[in-house]
């Protein structure tokens, strides 16, 4: 319907479009424009190709390409491949299952991410509910902003600030010693506690925001109706609020699980020798002096497949119809 009007103006050469003032006019009136962009803009097929070609190339090369290359190298016996040509093998994957040094940290990582996810859910749910339902609407933005501020500090800065709190001469230990509760500092840093504390600190808002937007959508009349029908606070929560916020729970948990399984800086700064998790091991295969890229690639693929399929399975089982990751 639009194209008919376009061909009409197109036949009366030179182009008799509307005259534009300013820089747009300068561009559209130039011969170069009608020879290039104008031509493309007036041809449906050229427009479609222009619209398709660049983004599709980008997605295929840069979104899929790296994962493909990682998968390919994970099957090589050596990287860079020997001169006679690449030899494909499954040894790198076999190594993972045979060597507890790799296998155990992987399991530890999965458990760690699951614990962090559940902890973040439990910690942020009441907060999200409070902001979404109890605070007066005019104060809601301010209450949310207060929670968003730390989010804008980077990963490293937030991790570093956790050290201030938990170090041997950090705030917690000094406070406890001042009030005479302890004689010598409790080792709060460089173990699972500090790692969990720090990772939840990093990712809590990925849980909070989906929860908030799901809870906010629950019509208050439903909660009132349940109360009128005699449901107590706990029953209202379990029978009305919780099922209706399921979408938020599912997407929040997925997001937090995927993020916390891939945290890298926090374990380096907050973890100790006893809390080595899988990301550190993968990284060491790439950064060490020995070149173990095929092993590293295989482990990365395993981690990717397991984490994505865990989340996929979780979404399927928990069954949010309209689950979106963002």
């Amino acid at each position: 319907m639009v194209d008919s009007s376009m061909t009409e103006t197109g036949t009366s050469a030179p182009r008799a479009g509307p005259a534009y003032a300013g820089w747009i006019g300068k561009i559209t009136n130039s011969g170069l424009y009608s020879a290039t962009v104008g031509l493309i803009a007036n041809s449906t097929r050229a427009r479609l190709i222009l619209l398709l070609a660049v983004p599709l190339t980008w997605i295929v090369v840069l979104h899929v390409g790296p994962i493909y290359q990682m998968a390919r190298i994970s099957l090589l016996d050596n990287y860079p491949p020997a001169a006679e040509g690449p030899v494909y093998t499954l040894d790198n994957y076999r190594l993972f299952f045979q060597e507890p040094l790799y296998f155990l940290p992987f399991v530890r990582s999965l458990i760690f991410a699951a614990v962090v996810t559940v902890a973040a859910l439990v910690v942020t749910y009441p907060v999200a509910y409070y902001v979404a339902k109890i605070i007066k609407p005019q104060n809601r933005t301010r209450a949310l902003l207060l929670l968003l501020i730390p989010f804008w500090a980077g990963e490293i800065i937030r991790t570093f600030s956790v050290i201030m709190l938990l170090a041997n001469r950090g705030a917690v230990n000094v406070l406890l010693r001042e009030i005479g509760f302890i004689d010598r500092p409790i080792p709060l840093l460089y173990n699972y506690f500090s790692l969990g504390f720090g990772v939840i600190y990093l990712i809590a808002l990925y849980m909070l925001l989906p929860l908030y937007s799901a809870i906010e959508k629950i019509p208050p009349q439903l909660i009132d109706a349940a109360a009128d029908l005699g449901a107590g606070p706990f029953q209202r929560f379990r029978r009305v609020i919780l099922p209706l916020s399921k979408d938020g729970i599912v997407s929040g948990c997925s997001l937090v699980y995927l993020t916390s399984i891939g945290v890298f800086a926090a374990p380096l700064l907050l973890g100790g020798p006893n809390s080595v998790i899988f990301p550190e091991i993968i990284a060491s295969l790439f950064h060490g002096s020995s070149d173990k890229w095929p092993e590293g690639a295989a482990f990365s693929i395993l981690m990717l497949v397991v984490s994505l399929s865990t989340v996929g399975l979780f979404m399927r089982v928990a069954g949010g119809r309209s689950v979106r990751l963002m």
Binding site: M6, T9, P18, Y20, T28, G38, A41, N42, R47, L51, V54, P55, L56, I59, V60, L62, H63, V64, P66, I67, Q69, I73, V127, Y129, Y130, V131, L145, L147, L148, I149, F151, W152, A153, G154, E155, I156, I157, F160, S161, M164, A167, R169, A171, V174, A204, P233, L258, T259, V263, F264, A265, L268, L269, I282, A283, G296, A297, S300, M303, M326
Partner: protein, 263 residues
């Protein structure tokens, strides 16, 4: 009596909110407070206060260079990611596109892949293609990571755009390029600003991709990381506090802007 009892859950929720706020703000507050400590080591209590660390930081050549480098990378990332993000979003929202869901899923892939895996796959990718590590590789890595978020923000905004706006422009004689420049881009402006600020902030904050893709020149997070590993000093606190204030100000502005344009 009954009245008090029914208020108990509300009070508990309110308490949980404030406890959470304290949990979020306390570490950063302590970090900031420590940057004013007049001593060479980090420990409580603070004792004497000074601004000396800030004076030292703003004259620190390493810090200034890393800041400039980080900002440069963030700006490049923002330009490329915004162009690509809008382009992909337009493709996905185009009429009669086959396999829309698949394209959308692949466009979002870098956002759902865990950060470390994302960085490693990109490291492998550039080695296969013989691209050296360094500035270009960092910008590429950051851009690929940022594109999905731009796509999602732009798509959300595009969905609320009335179809007849473009038709009207075309009926008035604009070709599709002009219609894009004069109608689509201004309509997308809030999403674009939001997306661009998001790109800047994620790029400046990024550690894991820069760690794998970077060369010898450190970005801000790399510099702070190296200093934290090398030993604590209130100088790091001053540095981190400066970065925190700037990024929080940018973030607050973004929040303000998108909120205002939404109403």
């Amino acid at each position: 009596m009954r009245h008090y009892f029914s208020d108990a859950p509300k009070t508990a929720l309110q308490a949980s909110y404030w406890v959470f706020v304290i949990y979020l703000l306390l570490p950063l507050t302590l970090m900031t407070a420590m940057s004013f400590k007049d001593a060479n080591f980090i420990a409580f209590p603070i004792g004497d206060w000074t601004l000396g660390w800030y004076a030292k930081v703003v004259q620190d050549k390493q810090f200034l260079e890393a800041s400039g480098y980080s900002i440069f990378i963030a700006l490049m990332t923002t330009i490329f990611a915004t162009i690509m993000g809008v382009w992909i979003a337009l493709l996905i929202s185009a009429e009669g596109i086959w396999g829309r869901a698949a394209i959308f899923a692949l466009a979002c892939l870098p956002a759902v892949v865990p950060g470390l895996i994302n960085a490693i796959s990109m490291r492998i990718f550039i080695r296969v293609l013989d691209i050296p590590t360094g500035t270009g590789a960092i910008i590429l890595g950051h851009t690929v990571h940022a594109v999905p978020f731009v796509v999602i923000m732009v798509l959300t905004r595009l969905r609320s755009m009335p179809n007849n706006l473009i038709d009207a422009a075309r009926d008035l004689g604009a070709d599709s390029f002009i219609a894009f420049i004069r109608i689509t881009i201004p309509f997308l402006a809030p999403a674009l600003v939001g997306g661009m600020i998001f790109c800047v902030l994620t790029s400046i904050d990024d550690f894991v991709r820069t760690f794998f893709l970077g060369g010898y020149q450190p970005t801000l997070p790399m510099l702070i990381f190296a200093k934290v590993q090398g030993g604590m000093s209130p100088e790091i606190n001053a540095m981190a506090t400066l970065v925190l204030i700037v990024t929080a100000a940018v973030g607050l502005y973004a929040e303000h802007f998108t909120r205002r344009s939404r109403t």
